[in-house]
């Protein structure tokens, strides 16, 4: 075996080992690497009381209520389960019914969530307003608002 060949095999072996190690670590930390939990995740795996978590899902159609003092109430859904969210403060521009949202805060009771921060999630679709309008007409509101946030 020439020295070049030996160096090549050593390198390939080292890279394979590194790849496998990384894959194992990432798989082991799967639950810590997600940015948010869906209502179904939270129902299946209750976080410790008082622990700050991120709840993610879709703002349910027709659920947004603006109360006085800048308080907003809405429901976050992953189509299977729903959690009621209360938030006080300014909302991001892209916060809309039928759009993805991530709320940071704490669970209070069974399906009640007190949010400290609200982040709007944008999906991967980019189009001019005219096309969006005609698509809306063609598909109907419901179909159109179902993004790919929830796989």
């Amino acid at each position: 075996m020439t020295r070049k060949r030996r160096r090549l095999y050593t390198l390939l072996l080292a890279l394979t080992g590194l790849g496998v190690a990384t894959a194992l670590v990432l798989t082991a930390f799967q639950d810590e690497l997600v940015f948010f939990y869906s209502p179904t995740d939270i129902a299946a795996n209750k976080p410790a009381p008082g622990r700050a978590i991120r709840l993610g899902g879709m703002v349910e159609q027709g659920s947004v209520q603006k109360l006085p003092d800048g308080v907003t109430k809405f429901r976050v859904t992953d189509t299977a389960r729903t959690i009621d969210v209360t938030y006080k403060g300014a909302l991001p521009d892209l916060f809309r019914e039928g759009q993805g949202v991530v709320a940071e805060g704490m669970l209070a009771g069974e399906s009640q969530f007190n949010a400290r921060t609200i982040l709007a999630k944008h999906d991967e679709r980019y189009m001019p307003p005219e096309i969006a309008k005609s698509m809306k007409k063609a598909d109907g509101e419901q179909q159109h608002s179902t993004g790919t946030l929830l796989k």
């Binding site: 070049k4 160096r7 090549l8 390198l11 080292a14 890279l15 590194l18 790849g19 990384t22 990432l26 799967q30 690497l33 997600v34 940015f35 948010f36 869906s38 993610g56 909302l91 991001p92 521009d93 892209l94 916060f95 759009q99 991530v102 921060t117 609200i118 982040l119 709007a120 999630k121 944008h122 999906d123 991967e124 679709r125 980019y126 189009m127 001019p128 307003p129 005219e130 096309i131 969006a132 309008k133 790919t148």
Partner: protein, 240 residues
């Protein structure tokens, strides 16, 4: 080995005499056209309105940040295994360029995130792995420059670059493996792009422009480095 033909500095200089100006002019033309179409003539987005224009800089810089790193890792492997004289110099020439693209990607992303998400920065898998990529670039530059013996610096740097390659698939697939605040990929996906065509082709122009710019600047940096070495060698050989 055929690769040797391209690793010869004299041959590289001959090829670069053609490639460098060609890449430079392609970059000027496509970046100008891409900027006009992307920043002025293309339509606003139905959700993000004018903020969408950040994409025409953000997405090409993200791609080039990854492409430069992949090219550097390949060159680092060639340098370690075959000891080609040009491969180490390529890694060194490309590193600050790749770091620049990564930084540009993070900064433009931040400017987009504030109005869209409501946050300048979040620690989700995509953003975090991209920040790690920036640290890899900066780490390579610091490490490769930290040795008195240039050869050893290059070797240590090449090992770092190759180790860091694990971050590239993590950046790319983070949005599919885990849920993130960053949206999934819009262009290279099963079922075709989810960007309207009047936005997609200015984006394509910008990607061509960024790539040509990368080729141009790396060629210039390599030519400069080789000339620098030639001058140094000549000075050392002339008696004072």
């Amino acid at each position: 080995m055929n690769l040797h033909r391209f690793a010869n500095p004299a041959r590289f200089l001959r090829i670069a005499r053609v490639v460098t100006p060609l890449a430079g002019w392609i970059a000027v033309a496509t970046l100008l056209a891409g900027a006009v179409f992307g920043l002025v003539l293309s339509p606003p987005d139905y959700q993000q309105s004018e903020t969408v224009r950040i994409m025409y800089v953000h997405v090409p810089s993200a791609w080039l940040a990854l492409q430069s790193y992949i090219a550097m890792a390949l060159a680092a492997a060639v340098a370690l295994v075959w000891k080609h004289p040009l491969a180490d110099l390529f890694v060194k020439a490309a590193a600050p360029v790749g770091a620049g693209f990564t930084l540009l990607c993070l900064i433009t992303g931040s400017f987009w995130g504030r109005p869209t998400w409501g946050a300048w920065w979040v620690w989700d898998a995509r953003l975090t792995s991209m920040l790690v990529l920036l640290f890899l670039y900066v780490g390579y530059m610091a490490l490769a420059g930290a040795f008195d013996d240039e050869e050893r610096g290059h070797r240590a740097g090449a090992v770092l670059v190759l180790t860091g390659i694990v971050d590239v698939p993590i950046v790319k697939f983070s949005v599919e493996w885990w849920n993130t605040l960053h949206q999934p990929t819009s262009v290279f996906r099963l079922g075709g792009p989810t960007i309207a065509s009047e936005m997609l082709w200015p984006l394509g122009l910008m990607v061509v422009g960024f790539t040509a710019f990368f080729v141009w600047i790396v060629c210039v940096r390599l030519e400069t480095e080789l000339l620098h070495r030639k001058i140094r060698a000549r000075l050392e050989n002339t008696p004072a």
